[in-house]
Amino acid sequence: MKTIPVETTINGDSAEFLCHADESLLDVLRDRLGLTGAKEGCGTGDCGACSVMLNGRVVCSCLVLGVEAQGAEVETIEGMANGEELHPLQRIFLEEAALQCGVCTPGILVAAKALLEKNPDPTDTELRYWLAGNLCRCTGYDKIIKAVQTAAAEMRSA
């Protein structure tokens, strides 16, 4: 099968890659670009472990084709911290033990950040519905919800 050249922007840097027409964005990120922060938990859009931002929207990158990144802006977990400085969500997830195994964490952080950019002061219910597409099997979600709320409060007062 022939590969297709794609030009895109990933975490603010321009990137070019070749991929097959049927290759998912998740596979491109992980296998071709070495960005393994997004995880494949299901490959069918049901777990959210592969969440990334595509043109400002959270998407399951397992359901997006690599070629759809042409001309787009992609943001992944690898772009969330500013150098050494963690994003408040990342820092507070650590401080409040909102992760156990951590495999759901990149997807949840990406999704939570997207929500807070739209709605800086969500209710717990809004937050729980927003994150309903991100499965976490370890934590029971309690500490995740609390950590996002702590981060939201801190970001509002910043």
């Binding site: 393994t36 299901c42 990342q90 195994c101 370890c138 029971g140």
Partner: protein
């Protein structure tokens, strides 16, 4: 090892909420899990699986797959060794079937190719000629004498003659005169229960990268709960020596028991040996659900007699578990755990395991206990309802305590059940008002907790920092708790310690991360290793000061002269001692190897409020509180995390999760869309109350905490739903159609 009398001391590090050492990598996407590594020249492996529940493999034609450009190796069952040991043989046969496929999803062949796409294409070109056989997927059906036989000749000698060959295990526990006990009861309730198989549901599918040379030397990188277990399984399946395999555990994306076995590593090694290149295999979610995990499915009868004031006079349970297509002993643990929360004069539990055409059961958090205790706690709740008794008071009245002869034999030492029940009773949740269609349920839970084989090596670095090397994959923050215990014992700050997980060639044997053993057993070995290092440091300092070794004590991270010598020398810090180690006898280290016992059982009590929707049968969890005796909570955040995570897994088991098999014996819901685990919007906050009843078997009083919290939710939710719906539920999961049917009759 005994509990330190001095453990009443004020801990400086243990009990605080420090940041975990692997945290930054995990919030920035850098942490390397099973599927996250690649190697130069690496091939991609893919496995062909049986579409049949039960069939004889007549022939396998791999020629077309081999001929495909880019395919570098194809393997089938005959490429693996046939280990003599039955347990190893089962693992090998489960990795690649030989004569028969035993369930839908059983692996039959695998390919390695230069790309994922080619590998996928290649397995479609493999032609397997099957002769279908009759199948059985229900445990009660499987026990009938005329049931299709899954495997022949696998029954243990404890199984009475004349039963179906599917029945492999029979066990019995208890004491006292049941007949006399039931005669004393004012009310006897006997009920039958069924529970569906569920899956551990870890978000990271099994993944590995493996390389094996023709000289028998190999390397494996994989996500596992036990690299030494992987080594043993791979060595047996490949017919190579353990010393020649080096297994490295990746970061692990959840396990819950599900990663205590081996599914793909031997296949990847076999492919690699043929192809002469490293091979990576990553399972799909569909494969994970079809061929790994799940837990047992069950059918159970429970009979309990009670006096009208709430004393249990006798109790009997009969458990029929199916652990899929292979023998297993999970029912033993269920039968032992069933009545563990009660102080009983007369009790008997009988267990059976029957094989079915389902995937091989793999432990899931407190294996065997949640289902048995669900059935027992449901009957206790119904008795309380019938007799008009408070369910917490009844449990308190009958609770096992120190000195109780447990239902499975041993006499309990210091246990926290009564304190836990009292905490639940005193909590505002227990008396909060309920509205219409709402109900409150409670349940006790129990887990034995494991100790086991453990090696730890602790190095005092020349700059005064500490390296701890341990051999148990860190599944939920154990590197933090191990570092904390090392820091506590040595009297150094937590951030001076770094704990790493060794590969199999770098440290002696360790049992798998299971049974809530790591914080207990690895912690214990770490403390002992630290004490060995302290002893050596004191010896060195005694030499420098030219006083008796016994005259040097260790306090606050320093060696100090004691007794008659007190004050004669200024204290020497660990860093000062470390800096001159080369001049005082060489590097300083401590190590400890142990088969730890004294893990100390753990009890929990859960309270759950639910509301049922009478039109749809849907259940909403309104409020949930977990009470648990954790022994000394080393890192309270992660103790709470275990309690919350376990509770939610149990809620999923109670309400939604189930393996659904069709008439054809095929799994109908092998995906997260149809196998529905709880999501954030299904749940309220999970409140936690930690009780700290020190475990007499650990120097700091630590108990395992990970398993117990999955045990009570099944009955806590079921009791709440039964009370809210006004109908006693006896089958899990209580999915909306099932509950609706029960409510509408």
């Amino acid at each position: 090892m005994a509990f330190d009398a001095q453990a009443e001391r004020n801990f400086k590090v243990v009990g605080t909420r420090v940041t975990r050492p692997d945290g930054i990598d995990k919030v920035t996407g850098k942490a390397a899990y099973g599927a996250d590594v690649s190697a130069p020249g690496m091939l991609h492996g893919r496995i062909l699986r049986s579409p049949h529940a039960h069939a004889r493999i007549v022939s396998i034609d791999t020629s077309a797959a081999k001929a495909l450009t880019g395919v570098k190796a194809v393997v089938t069952g005959t490429d693996l060794a046939q280990p003599e040991d039955e347990a190893f043989a089962d693992v090998a046969i489960n990795c690649l079937a030989r004569d028969k496929v035993l369930y839908d999803g059983h692996a039959v062949a695998a390919v390695a190719a230069t790309s994922k796409a080619i590998a996928k294409q290649a397995i479609r070109l493999i032609k397997v000629n099957y002769e279908k056989l009759p199948h059985v997927t229900d445990v009660d059906e499987a026990m009938k004498p005329d049931a299709p036989v899954v495997q022949e000749g696998r029954a243990l000698e404890t199984v009475p003659a004349g039963m179906s060959q599917n029945v492999t295990t029979h066990c019995q526990f208890g004491h006292g005169d049941l007949e006399a006990g039931f005669a004393k009861a004012d009310k006897i309730i006997e009920r039958s229960f069924k529970t569906a198989a569920t899956h551990q549901g870890y978000i990271e599918p099994q993944a590995c990268m493996a390389s094996l040379g023709s000289d028998g030397r190999g390397e494996v990188w994989c996500c596992t709960q036990g690299q030494y277990m992987v080594r043993a399984n791979c060595a047996a399946a490949l017919g190579v020596e353990e010393s020649q395999l080096r297994i490295t555990a990746s970061e692990i994306g959840g396990g819950f028991g599900g990663k205590t076995s081996t599914f793909i590593e031997p296949v990847a090694l076999a492919l690699s040996r043929k192809a002469g290149k490293p091979v990576k295999i990553v399972m799909t979610r569909d494969e994970v659900l079809k061929a790994t995990g799940p837990t047992i499915s069950t059918s159970m009868d429970i009979k309990i007699g009670m006096t009208k004031d709430g004393r249990i006079t006798a109790a009997r349970g009969e458990l029929r578990y199916s652990g899929g297509a292979y023998p297993n002993a999970t029912v033993d643990m269920g039968a032992q755990a069933a009545f563990a929360a009660y102080d009983l004069e007369a009790v008997e539990t009988v267990g059976w395991n029957a094989m079915t055409n389902r995937p091989k059961e793999i432990p899931y958090r407190a294996p065997g206990a949640p289902t048995a205790i669900y059935a027992v706690e449901s009957v206790v709740d119904e008795l309380c309802q019938e007799l008009g008794l408070d369910p917490l008071d009844v449990r308190l009245m009958n609770a096992a305590r120190k000195g109780t002869r447990s239902s499975y034999g041993p006499t309990f030492n210091e246990i926290g059940l009564v304190a836990t029940l009292e905490a639940a009773k005193a909590h505002p949740h227990y008396t909060a008002p309920l509205g219409p269609n709402q109900g409150r349920g409670l349940s006790c839970g129990f887990w034995f907790n494991f100790g086991g084989n453990t090696c730890v090596s602790l190095n005092i670095n020349d700059d005064g920092t500490i390296g701890v090397v341990e051999g148990n994959p860190d599944i939920g923050g154990s590197r933090a708790s191990i570092s904390m215990m090392a820091a506590e014992e040595l009297g150094v700050p937590y951030d001076k310690v770094r704990t790493v997980i060794a590969d199999t060639s770098s440290l002696g044997f360790n049992d798998i991360t299971d049974g809530s053993r790591v914080t207990f057993a690895v912690g214990l070995a770490t403390i002992e290793a630290a004490r060995a290092a302290i002893k050596e440091m004191c010896r060195r300092v005694a030499k420098i000061w030219d006083i008796d070794e016994e005259a040097v004590i260790w306090e606050d991270g320093c060696a100090k002269p004691a007794g008659p010598n007190a004050g004669t020398h200024p204290p020497m810090t660990l860093a000062e001692i470390a800096a001159i180690a080369g001049k005082t006898g060489g590097p300083i280290a401590g190590h400890h190897e142990v088969n730890a016992d004294g893990a100390g059982v753990s009890f929990g009590v859960h309270l759950c409020d639910t509301e049922v929707d009478r039109e749809t049968g849907a259940v909403k969890i309104l409020r949930y509180t977990v009470f648990q005796d954790a022994g000394k909570a080393v890192h309270p955040d992660y103790v709470e995390g275990q309690m919350q995570g376990g509770a939610v897994q149990g809620i999923g088991w109670a309400l939604n999760e189930e393996y659904i098999y069709g008439e054809d014996g095929r799994l109908q819901n092998a995906g997260f869309l149809d196998y529905r685990v709880p999501v954030a919007s299904d749940l309220p906050p999970i409140e936690t109350v930690i009780l700290e009843i020190p475990n007499p078997g650990h120097p700091y009083g630590v108990r395992g905490v990970g398993e117990t919290p999955i045990v009570p939710p099944l009955a806590a939710v079921s009791n709440a739903v039964s009370r809210a719906a006004g109908v006693r539920m006896t089958e899990l999961p209580m999915s909306p159609p099932r509950l609706l049917k029960a409510m509408t009759g």
